[in-house]
């Protein structure tokens, strides 16, 4: 009787203990499942489950549950027990009668009540914990947060990993070395200012001039690792335990890896594209400015504009190059200035908004002067930066007082260089100077006289060029004094302009002296006789002989005129100038070409005279050329045909085929550089066909179709065809013709 009552309690205890164990298990399941979701190994998560279960069990201690505790628990929960559940545990013999009575009663009650009493547990809490853990795991998985942590320490993700194929199928028998780590580090040129970055993706796209650094690691020792690029093989250097190679990227192309294991088996990887993009030139956009701006004299002469400069990697500098031209015609003068923008240029920025307002007055421009300017900018590229210049813009201050110079109708050709003060102008200026002599200080007078002397020199030099003289220093040389000194230094300044008729050796009766003077020159130049030497003024062919001597005379006059101007004696220089002007005028007139303005009115042709002229000098004309047409991509075409034969006949690839496929691959690579995406797969498969013995027949078709797609459509071209003509046809045609 008592035993059965006690057994109720024992059963209750077992039930409670079970619940506690379940609770423990639930607590342990949560983290274990989380680990599993995060990608940990199954064993690891099972281990975690047990560890956590042990820890939780140590806290909960389900085995510690005593019957006394249970009975007091039941007493607490149920009033019907009357705090006497403990009696059930006491042997009957030890109880008083009353106690025995109570024991009976309680036992009865307990039988009825035990179902309503729930053991104390935290199952709900445990379940929530489990669910929370699972939800967290799923969330992490969903948003791939793990990848974020893994990317930095896991060097290979499956998609990008280099796949090596054994070249020889026999090599499969042994376990091939496995790639452990692959890494490409790309460092852009230093001027870009970006830190190098690494990736495990072998498809490289980088700026021209970047340094590429490959590093690959194998799990076992391999014999050698090489990289194939544009038909060349580069061995990778062994560096600690990885194979590395670095190069500066200059051209687009393709590359692949191959390695040999220690047993002599060769393996080849896929082909990867190497794409180079260039640093783009900066782009200049001018805003708020017209190509041609005119100002009236009395207006405020301000030009305002904005410039937007953009570049892909940063601008180094930007400036406005302005040229002011003063005067017109022969007396035009240019002045170049470099202006900076009002807004400062931030070196290295990719977008620049610059503004500028140019005040024409501050450039000392007068009516009639013109301003040409453009914006020039350069980027940071090393060693030679990319430069861009904008269009040229014009600004003119209108000169209402000027008159237009009209070219006279009779002047067909203007032989004079327009940007010099002419001799006539010099004379006018000299006369003006003489007339102003009394009104201006002596210093100014001297300076102006000297300036006129310089202009005279410039004019002389220019005409000298016509004679074939070499210019002594540039015309624009403002340091005329040293030049003058130099001239004075030479013993006979006129020597080079005059024929020395007074010499004893006038007719070159004796050329001894010449040879004595320049013995080396003769020896140095054995080709002299065969050359058309334009450098020698005496051989200049610009003018005929009479003109030449006249010009020479004019130059001599100019020389004297300059001399007097330089000596501040404009008065004395005038006659020389006048004589020079006269001579020039004569020369001009003789060299002038007259063209009838109305046009040419040919006389009517007499028909009977046509084609009766002598044709002695008209000869037959012959031209021969060989334009052998080269078939483009011959190997690719050959490969397509060979593949067709391989597909239809089930033959296997020979070594000749391999060579053919390799050549075809090289041709295809040429096409593929422009569009690597389109042909990369075909290129890859061609590579495998050339390297690997074992292949899938489907690959042949795929390569063939890829090659066919890459070959451009042929241009129409007539061809010789063959055909047989039957006797019957001939007869029929003849009959038809005869009856036609």
């Amino acid at each position: 009787m008592r035993g059965s009552e006690k057994s109720i309690l024992v059963n209750f205890k077992k039930k409670w203990q079970l619940l506690l164990f379940v609770e423990t298990a639930l607590y342990a399941i949560g983290p274990a499942v989380l680990l599993l979701i995060l990608g940990a190994h199954v064993l690891l998560s099972i281990l975690a489950f047990f560890i956590i279960a042990l820890i939780v069990a140590a806290f909960i201690r389900p085995w510690n549950l005593s019957l006394q505790y249970i009975s007091s628990f039941i007493d607490q929960r149920s009033n019907a027990m009357e705090y006497s559940t403990g009696l059930l545990l006491v042997p009957k013999e030890n109880l008083s009668n009353l106690a025995q009575l109570q024991q009976y009663k309680v036992a009865d009650q307990l039988k009825n009540q035990i179902r309503d009493i729930k053991p104390k547990n935290h199952l709900l809490r445990a379940s929530i914990t489990v669910i929370t853990f699972i939800i967290i795991g799923l969330l992490i998985n969903q948003f791939s947060i793990t990848d974020y942590f893994q990317a930095s320490n896991n060097p290979i993700d499956q998609e990008n990993s280099i796949v090596f194929q054994p070249k020889d199928s026999a090599a499969i028998k042994i376990k091939p070395p496995v790639l452990k780590e692959q890494r490409v580090t790309i460092s852009y040129p230093s001027y870009i200012n970006t830190s190098p970055f690494s990736t495990s993706n072998m498809d490289i796209k980088a700026l021209e001039g970047s340094r590429i650094y490959w590093s690959i690691k194998f799990d076992t020792r391999v014999d050698s690792v090489a990289m194939e690029m544009a038909g060349n093989k580069h061995l990778l250097q062994m560096n600690k335990d990885s194979y590395t190679r670095s190069m500066i990227l200059n051209n687009s192309g393709f590359y692949n890896f191959l390695f040999q294991d220690t047993l002599g088996g060769s393996y080849v990887s896929e082909i990867y594209p190497l794409e180079v993009f260039k640093d783009q030139d900066p782009v200049i956009e001018m805003q708020g400015l017209e190509d041609f701006t005119t100002f009236d004299f009395n207006e405020p002469k301000k030009l305002r504009f904005k410039t937007l400069i953009t570049d892909d990697f940063g601008i180094s500098e930007a400036a406005i190059i302005a040229t002011v031209s003063k005067g017109s015609g022969e007396s035009v003068k240019f002045r170049e200035e470099k202006l900076s923008f009002d807004t400062p240029v931030n070196t290295g920025s990719k977008n620049l908004h610059l503004s500028k307002s140019i005040n024409l007055d501050s450039l000392k421009m007068e009516p009639g002067d013109e301003l040409y300017f453009y914006v020039e900018t350069s980027d940071l590229k090393q060693p030679v930066p990319n430069r861009t210049r904008s269009e040229t813009y014009f600004a003119v201050i209108r000169d209402t007082t000027s008159y237009d110079f009209a070219v006279e109708g009779t002047m067909g050709v203007d032989l004079m260089p327009a940007y010099f003060r002419s001799q006539r102008q010099l004379i006018i200026d000299t006369k003006k100077l003489i007339s102003e002599k009394s009104q201006i200080p002596k210093k100014t007078f001297n300076s102006r006289s000297n300036e006129l002397g310089f202009d005279q020199k410039a004019l002389r030099l220019k005409y000298g060029e016509f004679m074939g003289d070499e210019a002594e220093g540039s015309i624009g040389n403002t340091e005329e004094m040293p030049a003058l000194e130099q001239e004075v230094k030479s013993a006979d300044p006129l020597a080079e302009y005059s024929h020395n008729h007074d010499g004893s050796n006038e007719h070159n009766l004796v050329d001894q002296s010449e040879q004595d003077e320049h013995p080396d020159e003769e020896e140095k130049d054995p080709l002299h006789d065969y050359l058309h030497n334009h450098d020698d003024p005496e051989e200049s062919t610009l003018f005929t002989q009479s003109l030449k001597s006249k010009l020479r005379q004019a130059l001599n006059e100019m020389w004297d005129a300059e001399l007097h101007l330089r000596l501040y004696e404009p008065q004395k220089s005038l006659p020389f100038q006048n004589r020079a002007l006269n001579l020039l005028q004569e020369i001009k007139n003789s060299a002038r070409i007259y063209v009838h303005r109305i046009g040419f009115d040919p006389p009517p042709i007499k028909e009977d005279k046509r084609l009766t002229g002598t044709l002695e000098n008209v000869s037959n004309f012959r031209k021969t050329a060989d334009l052998e047409k080269q078939m483009d991509y011959p190997n690719m075409r050959q490969a397509v045909l060979r593949l067709e034969q391989l597909i239809t006949s089930n033959k296997s690839i020979t070594s000749d085929d391999r060579n053919l496929f390799e050549d075809a691959g090289n041709e295809l690579a040429g096409i593929a550089i422009d569009k690597p995406g389109n042909y990369l797969e075909t290129l890859q498969q061609l590579k495998w066909l050339t390297e690997i013995n074992q292949y899938n027949p489907e690959i042949l078709e795929s390569v063939q179709s890829g090659l066919l797609r890459a070959i451009p459509i042929a241009m129409p071209d007539p061809t010789k065809s063959s055909g047989a003509v039957g006797k019957l046809n001939e007869l029929l045609l003849k009959e038809l013709q005869d009856n036609d």
Binding site: A625, L708, R709, I711, D717, S722, E730, L733
Partner: protein
């Protein structure tokens, strides 16, 4: 009597006789051992009768009798049951013969006087079987699919492969695809179900020389492949032409044409007059650098002469006859560059006639977006005129056969304008077509032609060759194929071969190892609708004779084998009963 009897299974006669003799000996020995010599002879005869009738049951003896022949119906693939039922209702005792291309129906045909043919009909190589029997072809279910195709099986690199065809009973959404080698999709067309028969055209440029298999793939609206049929295409390398251009003064037209031809690697010699008696010679890709007068010998290597009308009319008498001879005998092609006078005046060589149409601009049908200049004339059609390019039914360029050569001209002028306008592809295509049509044809030692494009495994493949050889020998894999000479055309020979292997097969001429002909063999699972339609049409043409309702004919009728069985039963019965008596 004995010559009237034959056996159906006559090829078993020896085995059956042998077994019968052994059986008889066994039987006789058994009788002898059981009951001795008593009535032995009688038993021997009985045993012989039994064994003989057994043997005859096996051999199925036939007896020639004169018999009344009835009508028959030959059922071929795709026949309709309703048709058969109607026939059965109309004619009693209609003999039904099932046709299978791989088996003979010879014997069944013996017993009928006339035949109806239902279904797709007899295949072309079985038509002869009904030579002696009048037959009517009644047709069958309509074939669905591609029933006709036409394309050039031999092309050059750069040519367009154009496949034209007719699709019978198209369903909505059916698409036809042209697939190149390696499964490259080249062109496609979607069929509408608007018409009973729908024409289609597929086109692709040929890029690579060699023998290739293109395929015509049929897919339904969901993109599920219904069939894929092979289109064997031979692509030949380009052969360079030797072209002579004669001009009475230099023109832009000639300049551009010459540049085009020279760049393409052809041998070009241009002779244009600069002034009286003085010429400019330009030669490209050829050794010859000048040519003064036309003669038969220097015209011989020339494939095409392009000459302006003025130069043509100014040729000397000797040159004229040399030129005529070259065209007629050697097959030289001539293209005349016309001038205004050419269309109205009589010209040497040309018998073209023109009518003034006043149009000086046109758009050729193939390039409707491109304007071309033309002379205000157009060709007058006549039977010997063969058009090259047309504009809305009007011929703008054409040629006439002249002996074995061709003389052509065009009313289109200043085509170089196309190049200047940026239509250089059209320009090239225009001239390519003209030159291809006109230039001299190679006359090979042997010219192969196949009567039917497609060859099927184990089915006859007919081919013909044209050769000047006296006794050509054609071999396939070393075996000689007998040839038959045409009675009227003496250089034409025909032959039949039965291909055994799929893929490219090769016929070769014994005299010349380079003269080979390659043809593609496929199996009967391909081109089903096309083949069905071919035999339908063939049957329709062949079998429309008057039916002979009845006829008498000597036929071999099998003797009812029940008689032999009765004899056998009775003899054996007596042999069994005799010991018990």
């Amino acid at each position: 009597m004995i010559d009237k009897v034959s056996f159906y299974y006559s090829h078993w006669i020896w085995i059956v006789t042998l077994i019968a003799i052994v059986l008889w000996i066994l039987l006789v020995w058994k009788e002898y051992s059981q009951s001795g010599k008593k009535r032995l002879f009688f038993k021997m005869v009985l045993a012989f009768l039994a064994i003989a009738s057994l043997a005859l049951i096996a051999l199925k003896p036939l007896i020639k009798t004169e018999a009344e022949l009835g009508l028959g119906v030959i059922l071929t693939h795709g026949y309709e049951n309703t048709q058969l039922d109607s026939l059965n209702r109309e004619y009693k005792e209609l003999k039904v013969i099932k046709y299978d291309p791989s088996n003979s129906i010879d014997r069944e045909l013996d017993s009928i006087s006339s035949a109806f043919i239902l279904g797709e009909g007899l295949r072309s190589f079985d038509i002869w079987q009904l030579d002696s029997i009048p037959a009517i072809y009644l047709g069958g279910t309509d074939v669905q699919g591609v029933i006709k195709t036409h394309y050039k099986p031999e092309n050059s690199v750069g040519d367009n492969l154009i496949i034209r065809g007719i699709y019978n009973k198209p369903k909505k959404g059916i698409q036809l695809f042209l697939e190149g080698p390696g499964g490259v999709l080249l062109d496609s067309v979607s069929l509408t179900s608007a018409s009973q028969k729908e024409g289609f055209q597929l086109k692709s440029s040929l890029k690579v020389a060699g023998n290739f298999i293109f395929s015509l793939v049929e897919k339904d609206s969901l993109g599920v492949g219904l069939s894929s049929d092979p289109l064997p295409v031979k692509v030949l390398e380009k052969k360079q032409l030797n072209i002579l251009l004669l001009n009475s003064f230099p023109t832009f037209e000639t300049k551009y044409l010459k540049n085009f031809l020279a760049e393409m690697g052809h041998q070009v010699l241009v002779k244009s007059r600069i002034t009286k008696g003085r010429y400019a010679f330009e030669s490209y890709n050829t050794e010859q650098s000048s040519l003064w007068t036309l003669s038969k010998s220097n015209l011989e290597p020339i494939d095409l002469l392009i000459i302006d009308a003025n130069s043509l009319n100014n040729l000397s008498q000797n040159e004229r006859s040399a030129l005529q001879g070259s065209i007629q005998e050697e097959g030289l092609g001539v293209f005349i560059q016309p001038d205004e006078g050419f269309f109205t005046a009589r010209n040497f060589l040309s018998s073209f006639t023109f009518s003034n149409d006043g149009n000086i601009e046109t758009r050729v049908d193939v390039w409707p977006n491109i304007k071309m200049e033309k002379h205000p004339f157009s060709f007058q059609e006549k039977i010997t005129l063969q058009p090259i390019q047309k504009v809305k039914q009007k011929i703008v360029s054409a040629f006439q056969q002249y002996g074995s050569g061709r003389i052509g001209t065009s009313v289109i002028q200043n085509t170089y304008q196309l190049v200047l306008d940026g239509h250089s592809f059209a320009y090239k295509e225009y001239w390519t077509e003209l030159i291809n049509k006109l230039s001299k044809k190679d006359n090979p030692l042997v010219f192969w032609e196949a009567t039917n494009q497609l060859a099927f495994i184990d089915e006859p493949f007919h081919f013909e060759i044209r050769t000047s050889q006296n006794n050509p020998v054609v071999t396939k894999d070393g075996n000689i194929i007998p040839l038959r000479r045409d009675v009227d055309i003496l250089n034409k020979w025909t032959g039949i071969t039965y291909p055994r292997e799929k893929g490219w097969n090769q016929l070769s001429l014994k005299a010349d190892s380079t003269a080979v002909y390659q043809y593609f063999v496929t199996d009967t699972s391909k081109w089903k609708s096309l083949v069905a339609n071919q035999s339908k049409e063939l049957n329709k043409r062949n079998f429309n004779n008057e039916l002979k309702k009845s006829a008498k004919s000597v036929i071999q009728k099998p003797i009812n084998r029940l008689w032999f069985f009765i004899v056998f039963l009775m003899s054996m019965g007596f042999l069994w009963l005799e010991p018990k008596l």
